[in-house]
Symmetry: C2
Subunit: 407 residues, 2 copies
Amino acid sequence: MESFYDAIKIITYNAFMNTLFADRIIDVPKSFIREMLKITSDSTIISLAGGLPKRDLFPVQEIIAATDEVFKVYGRDIFQYSNSEGYLALRESIANNYLAKGLQVSAENILITNGSQQGLDLLGKVLLNDGDGVIIEEPGYLGAIQAFSLYRPHFSPVPVSEEGLDLEKLQSVLSEREHKLLYAVPNFQNPSGITYSSNNREGVADLIREKKVFIVEDDPYGELRFAGIAKPSFRKYLPEQTILLGSFSKIVVPGFRIGWIVAPPEIYEKLLIAKQASDLHTCHFTQYILYQYLQKNSIAEHVAKVIKTYREQCQCMMDSIDAYFPSSVEYIKPEGGMFLWVTLPKGMSAMELFPRAVKEKVAFVPGDPFYVNKKGLNTLRLNFSSVDNDTIKTGIQRLGKVMAELQ
Amino acid sequence: MESFYDAIKIITYNAFMNTLFADRIIDVPKSFIREMLKITSDSTIISLAGGLPKRDLFPVQEIIAATDEVFKVYGRDIFQYSNSEGYLALRESIANNYLAKGLQVSAENILITNGSQQGLDLLGKVLLNDGDGVIIEEPGYLGAIQAFSLYRPHFSPVPVSEEGLDLEKLQSVLSEREHKLLYAVPNFQNPSGITYSSNNREGVADLIREKKVFIVEDDPYGELRFAGIAKPSFRKYLPEQTILLGSFSKIVVPGFRIGWIVAPPEIYEKLLIAKQASDLHTCHFTQYILYQYLQKNSIAEHVAKVIKTYREQCQCMMDSIDAYFPSSVEYIKPEGGMFLWVTLPKGMSAMELFPRAVKEKVAFVPGDPFYVNKKGLNTLRLNFSSVDNDTIKTGIQRLGKVMAELQ
């Protein structure tokens, strides 16, 4: 009888829990990738699944030196509460970097965030009511889908191809309903590796110009270009309608969790309130270290090293694919970034491939989670930044074997 | 003519901006305190307004040593992306601290956040739909009011007196409508300095037990007791209905932005998703430093030093008030924490006092922002933690002079 009452207690408790949560959280899944990374944390599995920068390239000695310097120069002030905007000198240094590229950005437009992921959350918090329209790339960045989902928008996916956003589809989506945001990763997009062409950017800007839509240009990989030439930011075409997201995660270290938002003054003011309410401010200690690092080292030289490595690893992955994947498998050749996007033969589901691959000790990310409302897709994402060439070769060889078996 | 078109352009743009924002952000004011701190950043003004711990007490040498050790032992891993829950060893150390106080908390219940402010944001995100009931202390912690406000709850204020929450009012509030949360700072409350008595805690727990209400027990100051004896946590009375918020900000340093939530498993799971979506994870580098600091140093000894200083400064402030304030001014004698709560004679508005005080080069926080829906109050908050005794004496003397003039 006791177990009967226990059961009743559990049922009542569960019913209680179901009414407990806010609507916004009920349908949001855990990050598929972060959960999958746990499954594949088995060290005998070659993971081409993550989105990690290469740890061997972290400028550790330089960061240690910068930390020592910060301790010496700034003493105890760096440990006190500080302002919500972020460390002014760091913001000025970020602004100067934009100016050097011909973009008019001043420190007052820059809000330091806990990685650009927090930028996404703050934008959702400040801009999105239930049901507001958000145009999102298809396939699109999972972290953005997850962050915005909490504010319950209506997602309008627009496919990306090797040129960039599908302009025809964008036009029809824009005419169907109002939208507040267009979220885009125009350089070496996650997951597809695609870079929008200059023509495509201009075309997108032309369609957006007359609408009340902000472009959120998320550019964590922009500096990591190993082929072709840099394309202009949307901010060149639509200075008042472009919000920029940036991050030190891919060019210095991700562990400091330091990114930023560049926003027009009216939006900035609201973002600042949301930042205060969210966590008062981002750790200034690590902001000072990062600033010190940037002062004493050439970030351009460091990034050149990263680019060289990623270029080689990307080439190695493409060569391995050409050698080991069935010839019916296609991929997009990226000009930079960290990812290769693979298309399997029609009808072959990447989700079905996944458990077989794990059995063969290799992992990737199936395409499904990068789409808002599609399933069973024949696409997948491979990461080439975090693994060395030998591992890439072996991993691709294993994956090719599983693909051949599934054909 | 050009200016006419410019004007039209501005009007159209403003109309555009007003429809742009999410409803949740429109009415949320900037943090009054953080804005006020800017006004009073003039170094000739004695600020009794802030809520800062004393910078001279930061264990800087120990943190430098801990940082060196972390660099030596953990190398480059601390700079990589990491898990959203937080550094396991740090969470275990926090759990052990609860166990030592007789509270059953395990590391799996602990989520590391960017200060406990982020804990408030995540709880709002996960639990609050528009219009959900939140019981809040009156006066209550501004940061909680601000963080929850973004999720548009219905606030039910319940007055606090020197005993704790007003039980009669709590009972009537609970009978009037449903509530999801009761937010409480039962130890040395911010702003009032009040500590709930054991009887009061039991009384609150009895009223809450049968309701579907969670108590959010925010305890940033609990360790800073300089008089009386420690009271039990609500978790003792209501283990399944109590969510704990904790922070290293007041006992080690605030600049690292490291706090935590202790939550039941079902809520924890949702909080973790919200944490992923909000910023992936809190900086692990500073978590490792903090853990290393806790391993190599006696936090109890450090806290004893902080307590000794705050006790003296609190006493100095009370003595100065007795000497310099008009006798009609009352205050609550705190048993710990960082704040003194002052009640002016009836009819004297602290908001009116404020600009006069600033003119006399002394600042405090008027009571108004600590109330959800009251204005023109005769209460104010003084901080005694961040200033030395001489400054306290001079500040209180100046303030007493302004009070006497306003009488």
